[in-house]
Structures are given as structure tokens and as C-alpha cells.
Assembly symmetry: C2
Homo-oligomer: 399 residues x 2
């Protein structure tokens, strides 16, 4: 029995290797502060659960393949409020942003096709792209440059006859980078001039902390044929377990091909679609409150990082992640050491080592991603543990 080359080219999560050490640490009575996972702790709006409880049909039937009309309309209305008008036929409901990405890559990549993505990037892009036969052409950024990537020259230098798309997470996971209007326009221009798809993974859209208008690659009507938005209720409404996403494009040929995949998998979960439609009825107060909470956490993490000697970090503007270079030889080794050899009054901390977010070998070795999804007090403690850990680790390892 043979496993496919494309499956073999994919990897298990780089975080798995720490799991046995984390289990052992917990079994030894250590408390671990988790800065390593992107699961928000914010309550899901009650509208979700109310909608689920109010379902009264006797048969839980398939939904239509493109999505339930009530949810498609809710998504359309949400974009209307942003000033971007989509037709209902521009919107397909998917099982999370994940299925949207999988379907999209199967629809646009052949063996040897390339997608330009700024690195560090969301590691699961690897599997969606490799399993579709494609490869990632990384645009390398740096902690010193605040991980910014929207430079025409750098983008154009990566384009060749195999390039099919430019893709980015905006606001950024893992970097927290938020594109300015000019940067977004630059990427749109490059995609347009080179006939490339431009894919905005915009699931963190609401999480911006500088008071700027919410932006999307969908706002430029001159790139209707190029632009594809990946969206989801997971982060927006702290409803990760709903697995409800969206793929939005005005490109009719792409829509028609995506529909083939929608039809093949029949439908997206019915109750979760009904309940997600209800989520879109929450008012702007909800987002304001969530934004205030995350901004406070962002400030806490950032300020704590600034106090650690040797850390390289620029202020991130969005999402609930930040990336930083630490004054350690290797973030992987450091993480393992934090679990096996370190504690402060029985406490230790986990983050996501940077290497897994890069496609270029050897990059990100001393970098980490912090997900600030803990309550303020826990977050402060976690960051203090990080600072203390760095100090002790270097005393032990660097003599």
C-alpha cells in the first residue's frame, strides 16, 4: 500500500513534539501558562446557542451545497456594512476557513504551481498547498523590519511562470502585522498586473488596535477577477468550534470550479450555519468590547517584551498574536527546557517556536509566536515567566 508523495511532503504539527514534555510537566505538578495556541477565551455570543436550541425540525437535513441562504445573506449584509457589496452568488459557505483554503488550492494549483506568501506564515497553509501539488514561494521578512512584506520589488522578484497567487493573512497570524491601505493597494496592483489571484485570509479583520477602518482585499473593484477572501466566524465571534467559514470572490470561473467541490462534499453542517447566521446579529458594542480587551493584552505583552534585554520586537497592530526574536540560541531547545528544567514556584510557560512558521530552512530559529488569549493577570504572569526563563536559560546554557 502506497502513501501519496503529496501526503508524505506534508508534516504533522511542529507543536506535537512538545506534547509529551507538557504532559510530563503537568504530571509533575507544574502549571503551564499557554501562549502557544490561538483558542480565544472570550465567550461566544449567546445568540449562537439560542439559535441552536430553537431548531425544531424533526429531520436534520443536508443544507444546500453553497450554504444556507440565511447565512449567505448574513455574510453579505456584514460586508455591506463595511461598504463592500457582494452578490449572494459571490459567497460560498465552507467548513471553517480551513475548507475554504483546501478547496481554493485544489481549484487553482497544479503540480509545480507556486503561491507567494510572506513568511513567517500560518503553518497549515503548507498542507493545503502541498496537498494540491503546489509549493510556497516565501517572501522573507524580519523581526527588525516588523515583519512587513508589502513591497512591490520584493513581490515581483518572486513571480515566475508557475506563480498562481499571492496570499497573506491580514491582520497577520503569526505576526500581528496589519496592512495599510497603501500596502494593500500595492499588493492588489502587483496581482492585477501579473494576472495572479490575490488571496486575503482575513479571519482576524476585527482585531485591529490603531482605530483604523476595517480593510479587505475585496475593496478594490478593479481586481474583481483576482481577489479572493477567506473568512470565518471562528475568531470574529469566538466560535472556533462552529467550523463555519466563507470563500468570497466575484470571479465567476473560480466560483464555478469551487462549486464542484462544494457539491462533492454535499453541504456544511446545518445547525452551525443557522447559529452562525445569528452571530452576525451582534452589534458593534460586542466588537468594541473585544477589541478593548485584546488591545490591553497586546499592550501588556508588548511592553513586557520591551523590558526583556535582547528581545527584538516591533509593535504589532492586529490579530491576537505577536512574533519576536529572543536572545536565545534556539527557541525549540528553549521551549523544551522550559518544560523539563524550569519552573518558578511550580509555574512555566509555552509559546510556539518560530521555525514552523517559515518555509526557508534555518529561518526563525530564535523567534517565537505569542498568542495573547489569556486573561490579563495570567498574561502578566506568563510574560514574567518568559523573561525569567530567558535569564535562567542563558545563565545555564551560555556560561
Amino acid at each position: 500500500m502506497k502513501i501519496s508523495q503529496k501526503a508524505l511532503a506534508c508534516n504533522l504539527s511542529p507543536m506535537r513534539k512538545f506534547h509529551p514534555f507538557a504532559v510530563a510537566a503537568t504530571n509533575n505538578g507544574k502549571k503551564i501558562y499557554h501562549l502557544n495556541i490561538g483558542q480565544p477565551d472570550i465567550a461566544t455570543p449567546p445568540a449562537y446557542f439560542e439559535a441552536v436550541r430553537n431548531f425544531e425540525l424533526p429531520v436534520l437535513e443536508y443544507a444546500p451545497s453553497p450554504g444556507l441562504p440565511v447565512l449567505i445573506k448574513a455574510v453579505r449584509d456584514y460586508y455591506d456594512k463595511l461598504g463592500i457589496h457582494y452578490e449572494e452568488s459571490d459567497i460560498l459557505i465552507t467548513t471553517g476557513g480551513s475548507e475554504a483554503l483546501q478547496m481554493l488550492m485544489l481549484s487553482i494549483l497544479d503540480n509545480g504551481s507556486e503561491v507567494i506568501i510572506p513568511e513567517p506564515f500560518y503553518p497549515n497553509y503548507n498542507t493545503f498547498i502541498k496537498s494540491a501539488g503546489g509549493t510556497i514561494r516565501p517572501l522573507t521578512t524580519s523581526p527588525e523590519g516588523g515583519y512587513r512584506y508589502a513591497f512591490r520589488q520584493k513581490l515581483e522578484a518572486l513571480i515566475n511562470e508557475n506563480t498562481r497567487a499571492i496570499m497573506f493573512t491580514n491582520p497577520g497570524n503569526p505576526t500581528g502585522v496589519v496592512l495599510t491601505h497603501e500596502e494593500l493597494r500595492t499588493i492588489a496592483d502587483v496581482a492585477k498586473e501579473h494576472n495572479l489571484f490575490v488571496i486575503g485570509d482575513e479571519v482576524y479583520r476585527e482585531f485591529v488596535y490603531g482605530g483604523e477602518q476595517l480593510a479587505t482585499i475585496g475593496q478594490f473593484e478593479d481586481i474583481n477577477e483576482n481577489a479572493v477572501i477567506i473568512d470565518s466566524v471562528s475568531k470574529r465571534f469566538s466560535a472556533c468550534g462552529a467550523r463555519i467559514g466563507t470563500i468570497i470572490t466575484r470571479n465567476k470561473e473560480l466560483q464555478q470550479n469551487l462549486m464542484k467541490f462544494c457539491q462533492a462534499r454535499l453541504s456544511v453542517a446545518t445547525l452551525d450555519q443557522i447559529a452562525s447566521a445569528a452571530l452576525y446579529s451582534v452589534d458593534s458594542d460586542y466588537f468594541d468590547a473585544v477589541r478593548r480587551e485584546y488591545k490591553l493584552r497586546r499592550d501588556t505583552c508588548y511592553n513586557k517584551l520591551l523590558e526583556i534585554p535582547g528581545v527584538v520586537v516591533k509593535e504589532p497592530q492586529g490579530a491576537f498574536y505577536m512574533m519576536a526574536a529572543l536572545p536565545v540560541d534556539n527557541a525549540d531547545t528553549f521551549q523544551k527546557w522550559l518544560l523539563t528544567d524550569f519552573d518558578d514556584n511550580g509555574d512555566t510557560v509555552m509559546f510556539a517556536p518560530g521555525e514552523g512558521f517559515y518555509a526557508t530552512p534555518g529561518k526563525g530559529l530564535n523567534e517565537i509566536r505569542i498568542a495573547y488569549v489569556l486573561k490579563q493577570k495570567d498574561l502578566e504572569r506568563a510574560m514574567d515567566l518568559l523573561a525569567l526563563g530567558i535569564k535562567k536559560y542563558n545563565e545555564t546554557h551560555c556560561k
Copy 2:
């Protein structure tokens, strides 16, 4: 912007072309009896909705990538009752049987790989296999032969160096064929001798009408490395809208590669998993009642078909489908005519024309699939409409 060759090789649902005619017929006041879709009308067990209503956590979090332990245990216990023991690590929860199929094909097929499937087969296999770079090598069966396919010589004649798997739906969609123990053993032997995966899509397992024991390709321990089961709650519990499926295999290398896809898409919907676990608590009375109901419908359809001159049909033993050859020149043309030119007291009928279930061009042109998912009285009326339609169509078209 380029669409991938593999997406272009896939097709939209062949049923779509009838949609505008069905809409027009309805707008003209016709009532359509639907024998064309596999959406059961049986009530979903209330345990599903109770479990959903009882969820009380404030945050709808991601579930673990391989699935919620409570559901994995429920699936394991269900198989234990069938006398087949699996470890929890043999079981992955998926978003419907559909995602199971997609992940499996991405895991085992390279460009040019082949999967042997008896035709007629479930048309969505096309998309899952083509989008993974593979092709279907059909084992052609016939209405005269009752669509049986488990013949060693015929299977072996189709095996070549590109063959990766033998796959079948058992009980069969669209044919209703149920493999005997000996037939299942024959397929297992061939797969074993040729080092092929043998994939049993067994989502209709409970729907057998001859009093036989429920069978699975998982029952042969000598093919642990070869056997893969695709399963789902959709048909078993009339919960199609839950989108909860399973992929089960004792092949550790395959499990590890499937896990890459599970991790990339993060998780399956949390509430639907909790509720599906509750479904597995229904007792055998539920299945007995459902089986009695479908057996009655099977008998109704089959007996009505036997009364139509020129129809070729053998008694189907399972699922809720049957396939038959009609005495018409072309089932597609006939279906369109039923919508546009025929009615009896304002009523007409829809089925699924056979061509879409075949990979071999020109096959199935005068065949249809009937899904007997209507209540007894509606089913009788639908079958009478079919008989009357055939008579009138042939009077009009064949002079």
C-alpha cells in the same frame, strides 16, 4: 488567473441541468414526486437535539483534531457490538463521510494513480479522486447481472502498476447491492494479494433487508494493513446535516498521514460531535423500525417496477436505492420530458438518470436510480407516475 487542471477535470452535479425545468414545472403548478435525492425523511433521534441543547460551556472551542474522545469512544463501542474491535487511535472523526473520502484520496493517490470501483457508483467519488490526481478504473456491471461486482477475475484484470485501491459502497449506492460474506472475502483476498488498499464506504450498513448480519470490510483481521472503512452518522441516524463521518483503519502509516490533514483543518464541529455521540446511544429498536419502514418501501418500488413491461431490475438487498434499466431510448431525455411535457392530474416525478453513475462513456443511458425516501403512499404514486410516464413517452417518441 488559471484554474487547475484537476478542478477542470471535475464536473458539476449532473442533476443541475434538470433544476431549471423542475423550477419551471413547479411554477406551472405541477407537483413533483422526488425519487432523485438521498435525503431520508425519517426523524433524527431526539437524543441529537437534546445533547445540543444541553451544551453549557461559554466558549465554543475547537475540538481535538482527531475528534472528540466521547465520539471516538461511541464509534469504537458501536463496532465492538458488531464484534469488530478497534483501538481509539484507529478512528478519526471527519466532517461527514465526504471529508473522510477527500483526505483518504489525498493521502493515497498521486498523479496517474487508479482506484478500482464497480460502476455504477456514487458520482462524488469522481471529484475526490480526480482532485487528488487519480482516475477511476471502473469494473462495469449490468442491470441483468443485478449489478454484482465481486468477481476475482474481473477485479484482477483491472489491476496494474498504478492501482492503489479497490473501493466500493456496501450496501450500494446507487444499486442497493449488498455483498455476501464470500464476496467481501473475495475482494479482501484480491486486495491483500496485490497490496492494495480496500476501501469500504459502509455508510448504509444498517440498511439491509434479508435478515443478514451487518458486515464490514473491517471484519477480516488478515487485511488490517489494507482495510479502510468510511462511515458516517448521516444515513444511520438520519442526520445528514450533522456532517459527522469517520475514517477507520489499523494501518498506522496511513493513520499518521491522515492526521496531517486532520491537523491542517484543525477540528470537526464541536456541537455536532457531542450530539452525534449521543446518537450512538439509541437502541436496536430504532434500527429495527427504520429497517422495517425501508423494507416496505423497497418492496413497493421493486414490485411496481416488475409490473412495468420492459424494465430490467433485480431485487436490491440494501441501502435505500435501486437501479433499473427502463424501456426508453434515453433516461436524460425522458426525465426532461417528464418535467416539461408530462403530467397526470398535475403530478410528475423525478429520478436520477443513470449516466452520471458510470465512468465508461455511453453506459447507463437507459438506466435510472430511484431513492425510496418517500412515505409509502407518495412512493406508490411516484412509481405509478413513472409507469404512466414510460407508456406515454414511448407512445409519443417511438410511434
